[in-house]
Symmetry: C2
Subunit: 451 residues, 2 copies
Amino acid sequence: MKGTELPTTAARIIAVDTYDIRFPTSRELDGSDAMNIAPDYSAAYLVLRTSAGGQDGHGFTFTIGRGNDVQVAAIASLREHIIGRPVAELCADPGSLYRDLIGDSQLRWLGPEKGVMHMAIGAVMNAVWDLAAKRQGKPLWLLLADADPAWLVAQVDFRYIADALTPEEALELLTKGRQGADERAADLRRRGYPAYTTTPGWLGYSDQKLTRLAKQAVADGFTQIKLKVGADRADDIRRCRTAREAIGPDIRLAIDANQRWNVAEAIEWTGALAEFEPYWIEEPTSPDDVLGHAAIRRGVQPVKVATGEHVQNRIIFKQLLQADAIDILQLDSARVGGVNENLAILLLAAKFGVPVCPHAGGVGLCELVQHLSMFDYVALSGTTEDRTIEFVDHLHQHFRNPVVISDGHYRAPGEPGFSATMHQAAIDTFTYPGGAFWAADLAEPKREECL
Amino acid sequence: MKGTELPTTAARIIAVDTYDIRFPTSRELDGSDAMNIAPDYSAAYLVLRTSAGGQDGHGFTFTIGRGNDVQVAAIASLREHIIGRPVAELCADPGSLYRDLIGDSQLRWLGPEKGVMHMAIGAVMNAVWDLAAKRQGKPLWLLLADADPAWLVAQVDFRYIADALTPEEALELLTKGRQGADERAADLRRRGYPAYTTTPGWLGYSDQKLTRLAKQAVADGFTQIKLKVGADRADDIRRCRTAREAIGPDIRLAIDANQRWNVAEAIEWTGALAEFEPYWIEEPTSPDDVLGHAAIRRGVQPVKVATGEHVQNRIIFKQLLQADAIDILQLDSARVGGVNENLAILLLAAKFGVPVCPHAGGVGLCELVQHLSMFDYVALSGTTEDRTIEFVDHLHQHFRNPVVISDGHYRAPGEPGFSATMHQAAIDTFTYPGGAFWAADLAEPKREECL
């Protein structure tokens, strides 16, 4: 440390740099499903710059293209809450910022706790936890697993969920979760955390490509794959048959309708695919429809019902659990209010005994969410039984610490932080519309324009 | 018509002008409640300009200050769906644009159908209906009341609500609603539509001001007033007593907690105010908590439960009705996807027999929502029994056709349109941060800075 520098404890947040990063994934039909026809996987990305220099916090939320600029504007609108905060205090209690952000009496009108503003809060909080983990020199999963249970409870906002989970119950769950945590951490470092893959199942793929990728998935050690359904029933029957033939009877086959159906349609359509023994039906209808999911669950048993990637906050998750509406809870690292709200959601799932199988894919969602599941295994639920994290093999190369998958498992990250940091070259290339890729692409005369 | 002009039928939308308009209401504590401490009432406002000239569509959504810029950015992100649309086609079927906006496969990731993006869609659709009503030379309520029931049904998106309301049921409700519509329209023009007032009840007001304004409300012909509660229980008991003494036993006293409570707290706190015979408890908890509202309703009877100003879409309203969670449905003109989605919500309320008492106040919400209730009376529910529209006497002077209240009733608007058009002078003065008011205000040295 040079003599002229301030001591680290006095470091403050001095800038919140934002980036509109978009990848042209729609050109390959990677990521296409019944509702999301042609996504350009994007990140509304931010960097918390500190006066300490060097050590920054990186975070983002995921979108699928248009509107990523609105998402970035929402992150920028939070700046005044962040700039000037002492880094040490912020990292010692991320919940203090979280409470200020969700409690901003003017901004909460735009939600509350949902949609663009809430995803912006999630992106910021993810960056704060990245910074906190880097400062502790630990991967985030280990920071959380090592943390004092009472401190973790204080990171959670119990408003609107106390009828299902009290702070006292949360403390009890976390205290119990610490028993045997060291052994599980060692096991996690040895085995990794189970993954399943969506790579074979996109709607835009041919049956040949589906068969090839499904067989490859089994060869790679995955014990579950997932297929997108819901656009055309005859196609779905053929594709489910194709997939089941490729993977055999012992590999789990999940199906995902991406909110395509009404309640009755969901029950009927899932029934038409029952002969292929789907393990779960994912997002059968609107993520807002708690009672609809409960009706669907009653109507499709023994097929399990899964949802979560679009569930806006802990309050909807609470009700999905209270109403016995889901068998599988699919939290998302960047949809809700960041790590703080995902702690609440993991605690709710543990209280109700419902397995968490996170949504991932997109841009960097695998990188983030692995930390949450690994913490859950080591220091909360204590098990990986019937638990698996989605894996999609897209865009990992743009991250400094990409996920590592081997034998169908996520390897436990060892690098400090939340694995959220992108390479500067990726940012420079794919920033929209001024980055090198887009500037060249947008300058190019388009086919339509030439005709 | 001049020879060089295009025929009106060829007119197109040529621009979507957007404005960030903010009024400095926080300086008077008008509008303060337990959650919204110091709102600066704002409008994310747009004008659809047409190549016909003269006849434009005006619309907006309401916010309470910070973040209004994000809301404006969201409206602007919808431009590419709107520019170039033929005006006649758009006005003949606003639902065509509505379906395109909520169906944009990339933008829906940012909701779906909730928060900032959905409010932006609502603002745009409100502007389209304003334009359509102006072109027909009718106030919007009359356009809707005169419309063919089958055409109205086609304006509704039944996705995610068909388990509670089918298109066939909607058609039946609207067809039945037409019986006696002419007599009710005449009655409406004569009597107006019942209003209640929130003017006396803001948290920031002294007991003397509360008493004076409550007595004034009764003298002005209102049969219901509303008090904000939820910040301090002893204060609430004193203020409810003060209000009840001022208005006597026969005037309804509604109370409004603005989402302040958990479920158990809501039941207990409302119980502590029961001796003052509140007519309804409004927003006792999170607007997302369907099951919570149902539990609260069971716990506070005979006090009625009301909510809606923050309910994000028809899917949550559907569940509030399915779960017997509310006695009063408080739709908002600018929270959901505009007139099209509010038609769905009015139909759901009619199906379940729950009275609609809209949220209003803010900037221009009274101006808009009166049209929806008046349509409901004339051509859907057919009654004003136990129905009343909120009225707050703020900021009406900035609108070209402000609401007219007499003897506790909204007078039926006669001017063509949706009453959404603001005076250009108001726009020029209160646009943030460049309008005349804000430019002067922001240039002024602040107290803190001088000390």
